[in-house]
């Protein structure tokens, strides 16, 4: 009888014992920083200076801050442009390199190379490609396509576009691998049956391949949307620490860093912008989830 009770007792707490180390880590390094950021966002704290409770003042300030709206606009624009590119272009690439032909491994590796290159190296390479006296402008001038260099890096809008190109270029290979895995699961018999019915490659792609990889497309869309809202490195490396001329190409993470960093950093305000960025990310993530559910139905 005693032995039975002991066994039941162990059964009750044993799973929690196994979970405990993970829970402690998650609480310390993920949940607590989040809760702390929420609390901080309600104070006027600065680096090295304790802050007092100010309610939702920081949020009100953000809504009235033109810099916040510029950064939000840039982040959303980034998402709107980059996500469709990262959903469709890697799929096309995956279809191209899917078939086993001699030498295809080289192309697969080549497309994947930017993924493993550091963001800083990628940024520097593109800087030399896009600067006023860089590769693109030099070629364009030699071919008399332009008389004045295109301000890829010194105009805020062009800088944003240049950063998007770099993000897409770097993300192509990454998401291509996702699609290669999904394409491997598309039933070959469906393609064969459609081919027998006289469907050409384009028809087969849209009628068979796309519906089969749609869940993966939604996943890629969600992941790339989250990444797009967190873009910082590309802007920083291509556009310098002010975020383009006049700070016109700053994204929300860029603004958070600028506001919160340094000895005079306004941590309370930076925390409030972080929470707003979180809410924006959450909205797009839930949107992706809803789309995915609609598809399942």
């Amino acid at each position: 009888m005693e032995a039975e009770t002991g066994l039941r007792h162990r059964t009750w707490w044993t799973p929690y014992l196994f979970l405990a180390p993970g829970l402690v880590m998650v609480t310390m390094f993920s949940l607590w920083p989040f809760v702390n950021t929420v609390i901080l966002s309600l104070t006027d704290a600065q680096i090295l200076r304790g802050g007092g409770f100010v309610g939702f003042d920081n949020y009100a300030r953000a809504f009235g801050d033109p810099d916040f709206w510029v950064a939000t606009g840039n982040s959303v624009l980034y998402l709107v442009v980059v996500v469709p590119c990262l959903v469709f272009l890697p799929l096309a690439l995956a279809v191209l390199v899917q078939r086993e032909v001699p030498g295809i491994g080289f192309f697969r590796s080549a497309f994947y190379t930017p993924v493993i290159a550091s963001a800083v190296v990628v940024g520097l390479i593109w800087q030399w490609v896009l600067r006023s006296d860089g590769l693109v402008n030099t070629v364009f001038r030699k071919l008399s396509i332009v008389s004045e260099p295109i301000p890829f890096l010194t105009d805020s809008t062009m800088l944003l576009v240049s950063a998007m190109i770099v993000t897409v270029w770097k993300g192509l290979g990454y998401y291509m691998v996702f699609y290669l895995a999904a394409l491997g699961n598309v039933s070959a018999s469906l393609h064969e049956a459609a081919a027998l019915d006289g469907a050409g490659p384009v028809r087969r792609f849209f009628s068979i391949t796309v519906p089969q990889v749609k869940p993966m497309m939604l996943l890629v869309g969600t992941l790339s949307a989250i990444s797009a809202l967190r873009v910082f490195t590309e802007i920083y490396i291509l556009g310098g620490e002010s975020g383009g001329p006049g700070g016109g190409a700053r994204t929300l993470p860029f603004l958070i860093r600028q506001v919160g960093l340094g000895f005079a950093g306004e941590t309370g305000y930076a925390a409030a912008i972080s929470i707003l960025l979180f809410l924006l990310t959450l909205v797009f993530s839930l949107l992706g989830r809803r789309l995915s559910k609609g598809d399942e139905r």
């Binding site: 702390n36 901080l40 002010s242 383009g244 700070g247 005079a264 941590t267």
Partner: protein, 446 residues
Amino acid sequence: MTRENATRMALTALVAGAFLATTTSACGLGGGAAEVEEGERTGKVSGRITFRTLQLKPVHTSYVQGVIDAFEQKYPDAEVVWEDVPGDGYNEKLVADAQAGALPDVVNLSTDSFQLLADRGMLADVAKLDPGAAGEYVPGAWEQFKLPGKGEGVFAYPWYVTPEILTYNKRLFEKSGLDPAKPPTTVEQFFDYAERIAAGSGGRYSAFMADPKGRLPGDWQKMGIPILNGKQDAFAFDTDKAVAWVERMKDLYDKGAMPKESLLKSDDVNQLYGGGKIAFGPGSPGFVRDIKQNAPQVYADTQVANAVTGTLGHIGIYAQSLGIRKDGKHLDAATEFAKWVTNGPNQVEFSKKATIYPSNATGLADAYFSDKGDGKDAETLARAVGAEQLKGADLDANTPVQWTNQVGDAVVREVQKAIKGEQDARTAVRKAQEEANKLLARTGQR
């Protein structure tokens, strides 16, 4: 919404938020710290103290360790634990430690980090701890570690310093019809030279880096433009002279006197100067040594001269210091050690190993710093020119504590727009001052 869905959504929100917040927290967010009490003094040089340096390992390991060993030999009851931190993220680590109340007992601080930590009451007043120290340092260097509004307090021992000098490519000077023997001496003249260089280059090279952040507020101070009002409680640089400076920068930028991308500081000045693409290099003696090693051809064309000044005759000085944690347990040992590291012989020895200058008066008087050689080698000349300038340098031109990183960014953003032609110079300076004063009011810098 079902309970399961609500729970799932709440968990999703929490985890996603935690992830984002963790990443943003890593960017330096955090709470504040209150003013600290000064530690107790025992009058004994004993105890275990920590000493933090900025990126001195492995090149200067033997030098620093030698200084520590000699100190421990002289004071057997004291023990120094040396930690060296890489340059990247040094200030962020300092902030994190200051917030956590974990500053080292003796810590290497740059001008901006010294100002902010001292302003927050975290550094001991070394003038009070060690009343006889003042006479041992170059007056300008000692004065630099005072803070406006904090009386006669000095909040760090001056360590090594680097004065601004002028470096230029004499071949590009000659190509532009300029006499390399007559370099510019004022900011205004510097701009005139840049215009001549741009006119003669045909787009093949430029004069200098646009980067307003690198030039401000130094240029304005040299031109006699007030950065703050008399009470030091508001920015006051919105003047005709500042507007004229912005207009001149725009004009020169349009004329190609500066590489286009250098407006954003995304260019590497060493690469551009080393590649013969700009006529004026960065004004630091250490840079001359780098060019000697990395671009010997351009080094052969490199000439050095006194730094460009202005109406006030100021030059820029970049100083490193040793601050002492105010609430340290062994204040006497920390004070004695900081004084030991910054004494004349130790500073001279260090200066011979790196391109730096002693802040110590007896150290700077060493014959090594007045030797110009045959006057032809740029590195030797740079050392002599720098040391000469340092002896009488007026250090008022250093960036005031109120000109924080955020203020600098805000001013630069407006100036960049004007240089790009997106707004006129007067509007840019007015808006820059408004932004700067808003930040000043919010962050409460004195």
